[in-house]
Subunit: 174 residues, 2 copies
């Protein structure tokens, strides 16, 4: 799964294809490994836990966010989960059809939609989350204590860095 070409082979190939251009293979490896890891971990958790309950990855994350906040507006869910509002509309429809969440209109601002967990939804999370965390422990167990902290820190730094605009220009966010 990690690719039949080794890093050295890939480097040689790319060097040939881009003769004269300087490529940073260390930076490439970090980003590449980030996505391999995220993909592998996600597939692992979907296979071992989520699929058994008929739940998608995004569906679970949405459920988790609503569970922790207890009551939350859809725009905040989208922000928290990291998807567009349009995507969330579809996901919420699925979760509502399964009777895990309920939507209601805000009285203060009638544009807003407030989401809560149903009884079924709460029971589902209460059962799933410990299973989920058990797999998280399994995954984190591949790292030593120090390494685990280092990885969490490094990932957090990259997240913040990625959100603060591009390498070339000096754009600002709101």
């Amino acid at each position: 799964m990690a690719g039949a070409h080794t890093l050295q082979e890939t480097e040689r190939q790319v060097s040939t294809l881009l003769r004269g251009m300087k490529i940073d293979f260390k930076a490439m490896a970090v980003v590449s490994n980030l996505f391999r890891a995220a993909s592998a971990v996600r597939n692992h958790l979907e296979r071992e836990i989520l699929s058994r309950h008929g739940l998608s990855w995004t569906g679970f994350v949405v459920l988790w966010v609503v569970w922790v906040w207890q009551e939350i507006e859809t725009r905040d869910i989208a922000e928290e989960v990291g998807t567009s509002k349009a995507t969330l509309t579809g996901v919420l429809k699925t979760l509502e059809r399964e009777n895990w969440i309920a939507k209601r209109q805000s009285k203060e601002d009638r544009r807003l939609v407030i989401v809560t967990l149903t009884g079924d939804g709460k029971r589902l999370m209460k059962r799933i989350f410990p299973e989920f965390n058990k797999e998280e422990i399994y995954l984190a167990a591949s790292l030593g204590t120090k390494e685990r902290r280092g990885a969490a820190d490094a990932l957090r730094k990259m997240t913040i860095h990625a959100q603060n605009g591009p390498a070339t220009k000096g754009k600002k966010k709101s």
Copy 2:
């Protein structure tokens, strides 16, 4: 984007919701940060580079793999990219429509389809990849030299670990 609730708040909430169940918040933080980072980095690269060329993330990764291998069977692309064969069929159709790749039937085994880059595809990669790597350098620059190596190692370990079966049972892969 990192959530209006701090990790401490979340911990307290979850502790209340799961009274009596032991939850490992360190493990949770590693997995959570992994996905925040992957999502942020992917969005960053899509916005800054890929969208400008009308290219999706997966489309780019497929193009990259074909570029490095020069000639590759679709089953190997799927393995390398980390998607299902079904997904790849659709992505290849898109890339073919844009005239970036070409497909042909293998003569030794007529079930196989072999993919290559067209001239347009090669030119595209030769232009995009250095831009892409520049952003990778920017992203990796948030980490120190030692930290960068540590992160790459930790991510690789987690990838392998995630692919080697669940926490509970003793399944084996092929």
